[in-house]
Amino acid sequence: MPREEIDIPYRLDYLSILNEKGEVDEELEPEMEQELLIKLYRSMLLNRRFDERLLSLQRQGRIGTFAPIKGQEASQLGAVATLEESDWLFPSFREMAAENWRGKSLESVLLTYGGYNEGSVIPEGLNNLPVAIPVGTQILHAVGVAYAIKYRGEKNIAMVFFGDGGTSEGDFHEALNFAGVFQTPTIFVCQNNHWAISIPRSQQTHSKTLAQKALAYGIPGVQVDGNDILAVYVAVKEAVERARSGGGPSMIECVTYRMSMHTTADDPKRYRKDEELEEWSKRDPLDRLQKYLMAKGLLSEEEIDSLEEEVKKEIKETVAAYEEKQKELGDPLLMFDHVFEELPPHLKEQREELSRELAEKEEEEQNNG
């Protein structure tokens, strides 16, 4: 009856391939098509510039509160770039870049932040779930969808995003546990951006890493430099391939940084030092990929300029399209759509009630004006 160490059959790796200076570890460097790399760069740039545009629109009062993604582009795009179109994506509320890569329009982002429920409409054929604001809640859904995929004998996988804060919710633990027990093809992608509003990662959990939590549930876990798009891509791809071939779930912790405020209602100066942001600015994922691509001769100054122009134009057109779309969405009666497949009698009555009232209001306004 000895006391002896239990041999736990998992190791925990940290993966980094492309460092802050844009230098690459050639042994670990993945073989990625030039087209994919440029597409990723363009998407990072587009989302960075769009994020900046959202901030100015919010400051002008043209949209409401939103959650900036600045700094997290690599850990979102590197992960979703491994998906097939028919796979499933479960975002939290800070995955604009990931959702956009998968086909969600930037116009719909504006609609949501502009206060229209229509922003979360998912077009037929797109296997993205709408944004989930209650922290951690969507993680379980990705286990359910993955279970259904497996049950049907399909080859797809379900990828779910959540933050460092999200790992404190019971739903996270319950999801990992279920996925482990039922060996569902679920990929858990944690965006450890160091902060959950004002709570630093170190106060969120006493664990050294978030990835190690996967090991407790018998699931492979890995920590990667989340500002290194190559590392994210490699680690997630490995997990995706494993899941697709029946090897079950995995968790990837992307160590990144929330370079902006939590939401536009937040003032980070109250709880974090400017120096921390300065440090992380040096590790900017966009600069890093740009350096890499330039060093490899895959991207030139001129091409960068023309991509900047291109995304600027795309954003301008998106904002214009959004403003045009607003005109179609002015009818408050739309709030009664999609409550049930068929509106029950009491809701028909309430809809009538609002409709009469709106007509009265219009009449009054005409009489007054």
Binding site: I197, I199, Y271, P332, F336, L354
Partner: protein, 328 residues
């Protein structure tokens, strides 16, 4: 006396209660260093330290469940749930334990905890940040459900909630948080739970409301006076459960007509309970059907449409006039 916003008034209540009773503990997400996302707990951590002002991990069920344990051991935890829309994650702890431990243990244990949460619409927020689901809690035996409407009553009711021997859900109307200031006495003040307030006396009609809806309600009452010469009696419930049915019935027995206003959904909402109590106890005094002006039975829409969801002065006036015009 100082002129305070509701945020400052609640903050004052927390400061004073923590000063005079070291069993009072504040816990929640971002309540310490950040002072709460609405700054309601501002300055507490500096004054009382991080043992008494706990910046917790992001886990509402844990906040509530841990608070139950603290309360059992004699502390008086005041939990902040960042938005009421995230309080459902506490629901199983509330329903399964907070409200039952007293009975289950034959009175050996009780749970003097407060769960504060900002609720309600009208602040141009994201999804899950605008709801008004007090009925979930009001429906639960063993739970008190309190909703103040102004800085002064917010402060005085929170003091009572903290001192109460049983669990209290304290919903704060975020649309009122910084909307106006009111004189709040420096010295201690506690208003009893379970008591409503007649804010304006009148003889023609009773309008019953609470929380953020008190503002349009009072505005409508003033308009009725001004343009219709109608004297409305206005009741601010303050505590949703236990409902002050004595006051409500007394008023309606005088006026014979009643309108209830709340932003919560209509079906099975607090208004339905008020109607029931009136029908049960004042049936023969009623001179018109009781009207409800409420949010519709749809999830509150995002902000472009939320003003059409929420009750407003126009809607209250229309309901009041219809009630007044009714002849049997």
């Amino acid at each position: 006396m100082a002129e305070l916003t509701m945020i400052q008034a609640i903050n004052l209540a927390l400061h004073q209660e923590m000063e005079q009773d070291n069993s009072v503990i504040v816990l929640g997400e971002d309540v310490g260093v950040d002072g709460g996302v609405f700054r309601v707990t501002d300055g507490l951590i500096e004054k009382f330290g991080k043992e008494r002002v706990m910046d917790t991990p992001l886990a509402e069920s844990a906040i509530c469940g841990v608070a139950i344990g603290m309360a059992v051991k004699g502390l008086r935890p005041v939990c902040e749930i960042q938005f009421s829309g995230f309080s459902y994650m506490c629901m199983h702890q509330v329903e399964n334990h907070a409200v039952r431990l007293r009975g289950r243990s034959g009175g050996r244990f009780h749970v003097p905890m407060v769960l504060r949460a900002p609720y309600g619409g009208g602040v141009r927020a994201l999804e899950h940040h605008s709801e008004s689901k007090e009925a979930y809690y009001a429906h639960t035996p063993g739970l008190k459900m309190v909703i103040p409407s102004r800085p002064r009553n917010a402060r005085a009711l929170l003091v009572s909630a903290i001192r109460d021997p049983d669990p209290v859900i304290f919903y704060e109307p975020k649309a009122v948080y910084r909307a106006f200031r009111e004189e709040v006495p420096d010295e201690e003040e506690a208003f009893p739970l379970g008591k409503s307030e007649v804010v304006q006396e009148g003889k023609d009609l009773t309008i019953i409301s609470y929380g953020a809806m008190m503002r349009p309600t009072l505005e409508a009452a003033a308009k009725l006076q001004e343009s219709d010469g109608v004297e409305a009696e206005v009741i601010d419930l303050l505590t949703i459960s236990p409902l002050d049915d004595e006051a409500v019935n007394q008023s309606v027995q005088k006026t014979g007509r009643a309108v209830i206003v709340h932003e919560a959904h209509r079906s099975f909402g607090p208004g339905a309970e008020v109607v029931a109590r009136l029908v049960e106890k004042s049936f023969l005094y009623l001179q018109a059907p009781i009207a409800r002006v409420t949010g519709f039975d749809v999830t509150i829409p995002l902000f472009q449409r939320e003003n059409d969801y929420l009750p407003n002065v126009h809607r209250i006036l229309r309901a009041a006039r219809k009630t007044l015009e009714f002849v049997a």
